[in-house]
């Protein structure tokens, strides 16, 4: 019998398993791969500051409680806005859809929350939303955002994946030094709407606290 033979021949047994388990991936994932993630027309990739904010979002693992995926139900579009489209995520590496809504969806939070709301909320969530079980993220006001890494990421996605960034985004320290003032300018605009003294003094010294980058990112979610 075939199976008795197979069970005495580990090489063919392993080959058999590999063949059987690769079917699904080949048929279900590969064919549609390139097509299903085309960007929307005229969509711009995120700025360096927003990417730095996305990295804060990942570092503090916001996606363990917040989704970024509005499903096509009236109850969801009423609550969060238009349902999500595949093309909106085309520049997201990684995707940040999340799998659990301990807190609300954030995919269009930029449409209905403001910088000062976020500032007050990150300092003390239950004060802004009574009954909230979200912890405060005070350390984001102390820690500096890692702009160097964000720039490195932007350069990488531009050069490797042809994400449409302008010609000023180039490899190396010199190009970064030239672009940095623009990033600090963006940060200043966000910080102008904030009250926290730590943020004010950090910005004055040319530093960007994590929370400023995070808010830039959240504001870009529309």
């Amino acid at each position: 019998m075939f199976f008795h033979w197979l069970e005495k021949n580990p090489f063919f047994f392993a080959a058999g398993i590999s063949l059987v388990i690769s079917f699904a991936g080949l048929i279900e994932i590969v064919p549609n791969f390139a097509k299903s993630a085309q960007p929307l027309v005229d969509m711009k990739p995120r700025t360096v500051l927003e990417i730095a904010g996305k990295n804060v979002y990942m570092k503090d693992n916001c996606m363990s409680c917040h989704s970024q995926m509005i499903r096509p139900f009236k109850s969801e579009t009423d609550r969060y806005g238009d349902y999500s489209l595949s093309g909106e995520y085309a520049y997201d590496r990684p995707f940040l859809w999340g799998s659990k809504r301990t807190g609300p969806d954030l995919h269009r939070i930029g449409n209905y929350r403001t910088t000062d709301w976020h500032e007050a909320h990150m300092l003390n969530p239950p004060k802004i939303v009574p009954g909230s079980i979200m912890p405060a993220y005070d350390h984001q006001f102390e820690n500096e955002a890692d702009l160097d890494t964000a720039y490195a990421e932007v350069v990488t996605v531009k050069n490797v994946f042809h994400t449409p960034y302008g010609p000023e985004i180039k490899k190396g320290q010199a190009a970064w030094d030239a672009h940095k003032p623009k990033v600090l300018e963006d940060a200043k605009k966000i910080a102008a709407d904030m009250k926290d003294e730590r943020v004010k003094s950090a910005i004055a010294e040319g530093k960007v606290p994590e929370v400023v980058a995070l808010i830039a990112y959240l504001n870009s979610l529309k």
């Binding site: 047994f13 590999s18 388990i21 993630a37 990942m58 990684p94 990488t156």
Partner: protein, 488 residues
């Protein structure tokens, strides 16, 4: 070599990995219990400053129980039963022993370092694949070392036909290797930007919807090849060995094994129902999830029928109880999963606490119970001593069983309540509840879940204590027990 005498097996690696299983089990469950309690009592978020929030600790919990506890358990049981079903001792090959020891130390140090990296916030953000690229490389190395070791042992085996358990361990190795490699394809930004920023940081090779597809093909099947396949391999060995009963049906094992191999991989896209993934993929995921009941229940029924005519053992051997309960929870969780994968049910269940509820009746009731049963069976044979206390084992069994039931019932209620409240509308079609209403209503269920965590953790500590006492002061055995594990 030894034609008549029983082989002297070498359990040094099995013992080492057993210790790690217990260590990582305790660590992972402490963190799990803490984050469960944080949802009920948010003040607990501030115990460790920046490093103690729910969000930072959640991946520490999941990765410690998956890559720490479960994977150690897989290695420990393999280094025990692999030798026995292949009829060859590890000690017969110096090469394999050295390789195994390198694997052990690399794994131990790698796991600790990776955990610290998650605490510090270095993450790729993909669930159960959060480790940044240097740790991914270490994981791959460890996995290859294990694979070479397994193939090596199979290469020098005396028993020519591979026993069912070996099929499953082999599939575990191949499946995880494929999934892990493809899902963790990432580009370190430091090298592509001319040396800027943090060398640990990377970006995913895939973007948006494609990234999601690859991730859940991985996420779902890491569960398949980490939490299902090797655990089925364990029960195929430990249940007949403990009960003295032969496996009920070879044909059923055949059908379940190849069925599971073929069907499981397709079901990953059920994690993405109603998302922006193409519709036909969602439908495939749903349909194959339902088909998946067949091979899953095939194995579970094969196990239960193995006990046919011997159900009296259930009353006097707690170890049989552990394994029968594990099979039962496997059945529960493999019928619950397909139900959640039906679109209309998923519309309510997705994003709610029903999902962690489902995961935990599977892992607490099936995976952890089976791994503990395996260790209880191996301990007297590895340490040549009787199990220290049967009474403690009984108490542990009931405590943990109650804990699992509290866990999944509270999360079922919490999940369905929240899912229904999100979509509830009044007579004019307006949403009835603000989001925060659907959070505060969950408080009692979160409190019950935290309590169940404390109970389960206590049970696990009783298990650890029982094994420790077995090693140090269990009555010594002169002869290896053939079937039933001796206990005081």
């Amino acid at each position: 070599m030894q034609s008549n005498a029983a082989l002297e097996y070498d359990y040094s690696l099995a013992k080492k990995f057993t210790f790690l299983t217990i260590l990582f089990g305790i660590l992972g469950m402490i963190v799990g219990t803490l984050i469960a309690a944080q949802l009920a009592f948010p003040e607990l978020n501030y115990l460790l400053g920046e490093y103690g929030t729910f969000s930072r600790l959640r991946p520490v919990h999941t990765n410690t129980v998956i890559f720490g506890f479960t994977v150690s358990g897989i290695f420990a049981t393999w280094y025990y039963l692999g030798q026995r079903v292949l009829k060859v001792s590890m000690a017969e090959s110096k090469f394999l022993m050295v390789l195994g020891n390198i694997q052990f130390w690399l794994y131990f140090i790698g796991a600790l370092a990776a955990t610290v990296s998650l605490l510090l916030g270095f993450t790729t953000a993909k669930e159960y694949a959060q480790y940044e690229w240097p740790f991914d490389i270490v994981v791959v190395l460890i996995w290859v070392l294990w694979g070479v070791n397994m193939m090596g042992l199979i290469g020098i085996r005396r028993e020519k036909a591979l026993y069912i358990s070996v099929w499953y361990y082999l599939a575990c190795f191949l499946g995880i290797a494929m999934l892990y490699l493809f899902n963790n394809m990432e580009i370190p930004t430091y090298f592509t930007s001319g040396g800027l920023g943090n060398p640990l940081h990377s970006v995913s090779m895939y973007a948006g919807t494609n990234d999601a597809l690859v991730q859940w093909w991985y996420g779902h099947n890491a569960v398949a090849f980490g939490f299902t396949v090797p655990i089925v391999g364990m029960i195929y060995y430990f249940l007949p060995k403990e009960s003295g009963q032969a496996i009920y049906s070879y044909k059923l094992s055949l059908l379940s094994f190849w069925g599971l191999m073929f069907v499981y991989l397709w079901a990953g896209s059920h994690h993405l129902l109603w998302s922006t993934v193409p519709d036909w993929m969602q439908t495939m995921g749903s349909a194959f999830s339902v088909v998946l009941i067949l091979p899953s229940w095939g194995s579970a029924i094969n196990m239960l029928l193995t006990m046919k005519g011997e159900w009296n053992q259930l009353t006097d051997n707690p170890l049989i109880k552990f394994m029968v309960l594990a099979s039962t929870f496997y059945m529960l969780s493999t019928i619950e999963g397909p139900i959640q994968a039906i679109r209309s049910v998923n519309a309510i269940a997705h994003f709610t606490d029903w999902i962690p509820g489902h995961v935990h009746d599977g892992v607490l009731g099936w995976v952890v119970f089976m791994i503990m049963a395996g260790i209880f069976h191996m301990a007297p044979r590895m340490f040549k001593r009787e199990i220290y206390s049967k009474k403690l084992m009984e108490a542990q069994f009931w405590l943990q069983t109650t804990a699992v039931v509290l866990y999944f019932t509270s999360m079922w209620i919490a999940g369905i309540t929240q899912g229904m409240m999100w979509r509830a509308v009044d007579e004019y079609g307006n949403l009835m509840y603000s989001f925060i209403d659907t959070v505060t209503v969950l408080h009692p269920y979160y409190a019950i879940r935290a309590l169940s965590g404390v109970m389960y953790l206590t049970g696990f500590l009783m298990f650890a204590y029982n094994i420790y006492k077995t090693m140090t002061s269990g009555r010594e055995l002169t002869q290896e027990p053939q079937f039933r594990t001796p206990m005081a």
